[in-house]
């Protein structure tokens, strides 16, 4: 596991370590099976084209999962993801290189928890933010709180 991330060491405005994902059509099929979402736009090209899509597209929930990983990778096993919010603004396609990014927007203490709010997003290969969102985590403190 990565080293523990402590609340004291987080600074407002700092960038989160980016997470790069290269989804394939095979991954979409695996995700369909593992999630139970069998909407055909995610694996049947003819069906997707007939629905005026450019081809098969990623499940929104898979991008949600990528952004979840961005957060759980950053906070490590002692941090806790409290909230994860994503908006699917643009479609993403297999074969593209997607990068999950984030930035700390606020640090605060609430009900005894040491919290951090982040702005997060997923960018496609052209650098377009297709999936903006936000997250809140609770972190351990060096003083043991």
């Amino acid at each position: 596991m990565p080293t523990t991330l402590y609340w004291e060491d987080v600074k407002e405005g700092q960038d989160l370590p980016p997470l790069v994902k290269k989804p394939t059509t095979q991954q979409l099929v695996k995700y369909a099976g593992a999630s139970g979402d069998f909407y055909q736009i995610h694996y049947d090209k003819d069906f997707a084209l007939a629905n005026k899509l450019p081809g098969v597209i990623l499940h929104g929930a898979l991008k949600n999962a990528f952004l979840g990983q961005l957060m759980t990778d950053w906070i490590g096993e002692h941090g806790r993801l409290k909230r994860l919010s994503v908006q699917y603004r643009g479609m993403d396609v297999p074969g593209d290189t997607l990068t999950c990014k984030g930035r700390v927007t606020k640090k605060y203490v609430q009900e005894g928890q040491h919290c951090v709010d982040c702005e997060i997003w997923l960018e496609n290969g052209k650098g377009e933010k297709t999936t903006p969102g936000s997250a809140t985590v609770a972190l351990p403190t060096r003083s043991g709180g």
């Binding site: 989804p23 949600n64 979840g68 994860l84 919010s85």
Partner: protein, 152 residues
């Protein structure tokens, strides 16, 4: 047969706002958590490596945050039918309250929360909001998901 206007469809759906689904329960299996983590491409030992996870703060494997996408709520007594050809997932807002472990039984109940219309590049869209509450076998609220679907 003529296609009903978006406004007429939205007005009809409006009648169903507030309706709650039946509950549906799921036994969370360790193999399913591992398969889900593999499908999303997340190698975090907390989700797949029992020996490593046992030494961690949860004393064992837990499910990745978005695993609950598997736990679909039960049916509504009156089906929510949208007579429009295209449906898109607009996004989700998750609140996580308790970890999910293998052996847990998760019960999902969904509330049909709101219907609105919006102009977009793709024409007038109907936006339907749903709130799903997930509880475990101890009756503890594990997570709340607020999701938004768009139909046009």
């Amino acid at each position: 047969m003529t296609t009903p206007s978006i406004e007429a469809v939205a007005a009809e759906l409006q009648q169903l706002v507030g309706m709650e689904s039946a509950a549906a329960s799921y036994l969370v299996e360790k193999g399913h958590i591992r398969r889900f983590a593999e499908a999303i491409g997340d190698p975090n030992p907390l989700f797949s490596d029992g020996a490593a996870a046992r030494k961690g703060p949860y004393g064992g494997i837990i499910a990745p945050p978005t695993f609950l996408r598997n736990c679909s709520p039960g049916p509504f007594s009156q089906p929510i039918r949208v007579p429009l050809a295209r449906n898109l997932d607009g996004g989700s807002d998750w609140e996580y309250l308790e970890p999910i472990r293998p052996g847990d039984t998760i019960t999902a109940v969904q509330r049909f929360a709101a219907v609105t219309t919006r102009q977009s590049r793709l024409g007038t869209m109907i936006i339907m909001s749903r709130e799903t509450r997930y509880t475990n076998q101890f009756g503890k609220l594990v997570a709340i998901q607020r999701s938004h679907g768009m139909s046009y």
